[in-house]
């Protein structure tokens, strides 16, 4: 029916113009009213903004800059809403979950192959916390270097999709070699935007230890030379309760 390998179709355009009319005054008033009356506890818990890069598993030559707005549930688990920029009109393009190495090692191998490592991103200065002094985030970077992430991208804005099309794509993290090497122009653009330099970060992060072990089931493409696509298929809807899944 629909696949991550599909080319973009109708409803998509090559320019970045969003589909839809601007927000009307009436809607703005409704939104403002709801905002004043409602509480936003889960959203208010977001405590970090990280910017990094990601590669589509079905085509690693397609790479994007990503903005993660992160909530910590405990020392070993983070959840992030991922946007395509840090502007107020950014598009919500997916969700990433981040777990510590301890949690990752307990996952079944079939699950592990969907996750990517973060050590290289941190050490190479690709992962940043915009506007944060490096010294303050160093303890967190040390934590993150040992973590693994699982990132599903639901809106392929890089190919000009005006609306989210198709099934989610599994995303990979940048790595030092092969298909994992991040596009130089993307990094230059990021460096210019935040008035920073990747090379400076590499130097200042030299003290952050490399993990002694990165599980080879993560970054599956590196050891196994295989990538992943996701398809949506037609099936019969179950309408009778099966209690076995709750046992």
């Amino acid at each position: 029916m629909s696949s991550t390998s599909e080319r973009n179709g109708a409803g998509a355009g090559k320019n970045g113009i969003p589909a839809g009319k601007p927000v009307s005054t009436g809607q703005q008033i409704l939104d403002k009213g709801a905002q004043m009356l409602q509480s936003f506890k889960p959203i208010n818990q977001m405590s970090q903004h990280a910017c990094t890069f990601a590669l589509y598993s079905q085509d690693m030559s397609r790479q994007i800059e990503t903005h993660h707005f992160i909530t910590r549930l405990n020392q070993d688990f983070l959840q992030a809403a991922v946007y395509d920029s840090d502007d107020s009109d950014a598009r919500l393009i997916g969700i990433e979950y981040i777990v510590s190495d301890a949690t990752f090692e307990k996952l079944p191998p079939d699950e592990q192959k969907l996750w990517h490592s973060h050590a290289y991103e941190i050490k190479s200065g690709l992962w940043i916390h915009p506007r944060m002094p490096e010294m303050i985030v160093t303890p967190e970077l040390k934590n993150l270097a040992k973590t693994y992430g699982k990132f599903w991208c639901t809106w392929q804005t890089d190919r000009g999709d005006k609306l989210p099309l198709g099934p989610p794509s599994l995303m990979m993290s940048p790595q030092a070699e092969g298909e994992g090497v991040v596009n130089h122009e993307l990094v230059t653009k990021r460096d210019e935007k935040y008035k920073m330099s990747k090379e400076d970060l590499v130097k200042s992060r030299i003290e952050i230890p490399e993990p002694e072990w990165i599980n080879p089931m993560a970054d599956y493409w590196r050891q196994h030379k295989k990538c992943f696509g996701v398809d949506v298929e037609s099936t019969k809807m179950k309408i009778e309760t099966d209690y076995s899944i709750y046992s």
């Binding site: 029916m1 601007p22 208010n44 030559s61 020392q75 959840q79 985030v137 989210p164 019969k236």
Partner: protein, 242 residues
């Protein structure tokens, strides 16, 4: 008998946040700007079920922002509390935008007309007249929902593939116990709201036959593929399964 699974909140494994870590979080939340998430201005509560299994129904808390007058984007949590799990996301578009989608895409979207008109979709804390003003619009939209974390079956971590989710389309689908539980916690009455919303209009062109999983069901499948050599464009493969 109804299962009571949708209110399971499995504890996420892990140690309590260390003081050093929470200090970084505190500093970052003070210094950094959160442009995209500041646009979130609406909390919507509704139910989703899995596109291949209507018997698995989940209470879903949507936190939405308008991208423009015709599109909202929402983060979905399993509760409205500070320790809520981020379980998915939803895009909501007007009927006009929905109709521009290719036919292969339409089954992934669900209609909202029944959810609104039956009273089960609501904005916690917002008085009825104000709420209805906005829901008049929602009734004419379609949504695309993906869940990544199957909390209803007790997963303490987000495991497996993303799941396409669907919404209620007629009476008799929602578990009465699930409805009762939400009505009690939020002091709302779905039946009363159904009457209050009787005047609302739905989709101008009626519910599209390709929407709501084309009236059948959908499942996601992972496929191991050859990695594309870097720098090579994607081959033009068009997969059709329906």
């Amino acid at each position: 008998m109804d299962p009571v699974h949708a209110t399971i909140h499995p504890e996420v494994p892990g140690e309590k946040t260390k003081i050093g870590t929470s200090l970084v979080d505190t500093a970052a939340s003070a210094i950094q700007s959160f442009g995209p998430t500041k646009q979130i201005h609406q909390h919507l509560c509704a139910f989703h079920f899995y596109a291949d299994d209507m018997t698995r129904q989940v209470e879903a808390h949507h936190y939405c922002g308008h991208r423009n007058d015709e599109m909202r984007q929402c983060l979905i949590y399993d509760s409205p509390d500070a320790d809520a799990r981020l379980i998915g996301l939803e895009y909501i578009v007007t009927e006009d935008l929905f109709l521009t989608l290719p036919d292969s895409e339409k089954p992934l979207w669900h209609s909202h007309e029944y959810e609104v008109k039956s009273g089960v979709l609501f904005l916690p804390g917002v008085p009825g007249p104000v709420e209805r003003k906005d829901l008049e619009k929602v009734a004419k939209t379609y949504g695309k929902t993906i869940h990544f974390w199957q909390v209803d079956k007790g997963d303490d971590l987000p495991l497996g593939l993303p799941q396409v989710m669907m919404a209620l389309t007629r009476d008799g689908q929602l578990y009465p116990s699930l409805a009762k539980d939400v009505e009690t916690r939020y002091s709302v009455s779905f039946e009363k709201e159904r009457q209050n919303r009787a005047y609302m209009e739905g989709l101008a062109h009626g519910i599209h036959p390709k929407a709501n999983a084309a009236g059948v069901g959908l499942k996601t499948v992972l496929r191991e593929i050859e990695c594309k050599p870097s720098g090579q464009p994607e081959p033009s493969v068009h997969r059709v399964f329906v």
